[in-house]
């Protein structure tokens, strides 16, 4: 019988040259693209593509809070709904809120509560909707980053934008912005969100184990990454209003698809039936 105890379970996540499986350096982010104002019906909206993540965020409000008993006579509520589309992951996700998405909704709404000027809008609610269309680890950070742009786009008064990025440990190396494989087979994942101007931390979670020194390293990397994201967020907002829609589409073309490998099938037969309809 095979000795299953001694089969190597660990997946190799760091290559011999010190780079990660997708060729990134430990402190390198996946490619990020942010677009502001993509939805017509919402008060504010944003779309983010972050590596394999595709996330839409929409903001409504401040608007009348419903149900009425939730209204706070002194300030606005900041409510958030994080939702993953059934097709966002490889195994179909059962639609509807689950334990995980309820938790993420809660921590994100708390993160935004810290920056929105809630006292200006008593008895109202600011509603944030985050829809994950495609997930590839780090969706809460992507969602938060997009929602922050959507919030600014909606004209909600806030202290600053919030930028968010995770870092973690894979194969014993502290790395920023883990992707799906690294998240699944790595040792720790630590998403965080900061208010870049003041450096305040508004979201901090950890899954796995990090020593104190590793944690400090991870935090440093995340903070550095959030500053890069902050610039992208600001750029998205500037583009939204400094140009017409045509210019926006022209300036940031969709990420070009990787070149298709040469097909091994024989070329399709020449169509000798003539144009359709004859």
């Amino acid at each position: 019988m095979e000795d299953i105890e001694h089969i190597e379970k660990q997946m190799k996540l760091i290559r011999a040259d010190g780079r990660r499986l997708d060729g990134r350096k430990p402190d390198e982010l996946r490619p990020v693209r942010i677009e502001a104002g993509v939805l017509r019906r919402a008060d504010g909206s944003a779309y983010i593509e972050w590596g394999g993540n595709k996330v839409l965020a929409a903001v409504y409000g401040p608007r009348e809070a419903h149900p009425r008993h939730l209204q706070d006579p002194a300030r606005a509520l900041v409510q958030c709904r994080y939702n993953m589309a059934p097709f966002s992951v490889s195994d179909r996700k059962r639609p509807g809120p689950d334990r995980r998405s309820v938790e993420i909704s809660k921590v994100i709404s708390e993160a935004f509560s810290a920056v929105v000027f809630k006292e200006q809008f008593p008895r109202t609610s600011v509603d944030i909707f985050i829809e994950v269309l495609q997930a590839d680890a780090g969706t809460r950070c992507a969602g938060l980053t997009a929602a922050s742009v959507a919030l600014a786009d909606a004209g909600v008064p806030m202290r600053d934008l919030v930028a968010s990025c995770a870092s973690g440990k894979i194969d014993g190396v502290v790395c920023v912005d883990l992707n799906k494989e690294e998240d699944n087979f790595g040792d720790a994942d630590c998403p965080m969100a900061i208010v870049p101007r003041t450096g305040e931390i508004v979201l901090l979670q950890m899954d796995g184990h990090l020593t104190f020194d590793e944690f400090q390293k991870a935090m440093e990397m995340s903070i550095d990454a959030t500053h890069r994201l902050y610039e992208l967020q600001r750029d998205a907002l500037r583009r939204r209003y400094s140009t017409t829609l045509e210019d926006i589409l022209r300036e940031s073309p969709p990420v070009p698809p990787p070149p298709m490998p040469e097909s091994e099938l024989p070329p399709p037969p020449e169509d000798d039936f003539g144009p359709e309809g004859i």
């Binding site: 409000g61 401040p62 008593p122 600014a152 004209g155 806030m158 934008l161 101007r197 600001r234 907002l237």
Partner: protein, 232 residues
């Protein structure tokens, strides 16, 4: 319209908009002597007061605002009016221009009627009351109501009402602009259509320079192409 394409620079929440010594106006906040933008908008400095003119946002009622609202509910002595804000706005029967018997509110205004009124008061928890006692307050019959972003209302009105008088003059429509972003237009169908597209242009390019010229150009072009020579 290349000349009207230049834009005012915009500020983003969290961006520093003024050093020490300046006072924070609307759309800004102060922290450690520095003034920062609280909203996405255009920086404006006037007499040592920095403010940010927002590009987007909801209408928050203020005392004295002229608003256009739709009646959504009736009570025995009041109407509930939707004024496109997060707060419901009741219009009490005593604030209406009519003598209303208790329980007889539906004789004067029904659900779905549109009124032009004013904000009578807003208290600290943003309870709003409307009034129709002002001279221009009325029930609006006929015409169309269009909605624009409330932050663009000052651009539609223009300096000392310059834009609105331009629109009225060139299209011959009756136009009422509510601070809540609702605009009532009345006139011949083609005139209201031209006025509506001009207002859409203003909303779209609110932050660009030379807007008045662009609007004049648009109206004149539209009138030439869609209406042709007017029948005698």
């Amino acid at each position: 319209m290349e000349s009207s394409g230049s834009l005012r620079p915009i500020v983003i929440p969290g961006e520093a908009v003024g050093g020490p010594g300046l006072k924070p106006g609307p759309g800004t906040y102060i922290e450690g002597g520095q003034v920062f933008a609280a909203q996405l908008g255009i920086r404006n400095e006037h007499d040592g007061l920095v403010s940010v003119i927002p590009l987007n946002g909801r209408y928050i009622p203020q005392r004295g605002d002229a608003v256009i609202g739709e009646v959504v509910d009736l009570g025995p002595s009041h109407w509930l009016v939707d004024i496109n804000s997060p707060y419901p706005a009741p219009l009490h029967a005593t604030e209406s221009p009519w003598r209303v018997e208790f329980g007889d509110t539906s004789r004067y205004l029904k659900v779905g009627d549109v009124i032009m009124g004013h904000v009578l008061s807003v208290d600290e928890i943003k309870r709003v009351q409307l009034t129709m006692q002002e001279r221009e307050a009325r029930r609006l019959n006929g015409g169309i109501v269009m909605e624009i972003s409330p932050t663009k209302v000052p651009r539609v009105i223009g300096k000392q009402g310059s834009m609105i008088s331009l629109l009225t003059e060139l299209t011959g429509c009756h136009i009422y602009v509510g601070q809540n972003g609702r605009i009532w237009l009345d006139g011949e169908d083609r005139d209201t259509a031209v006025a509506a597209s001009a207002i859409r242009l203003i909303e779209e390019r609110a932050q660009s320079y030379g807007l008045t010229e662009a609007v004049r150009e648009l109206i004149e072009r539209e009138r030439r192409s869609t209406t042709g020579p007017r029948p005698a």
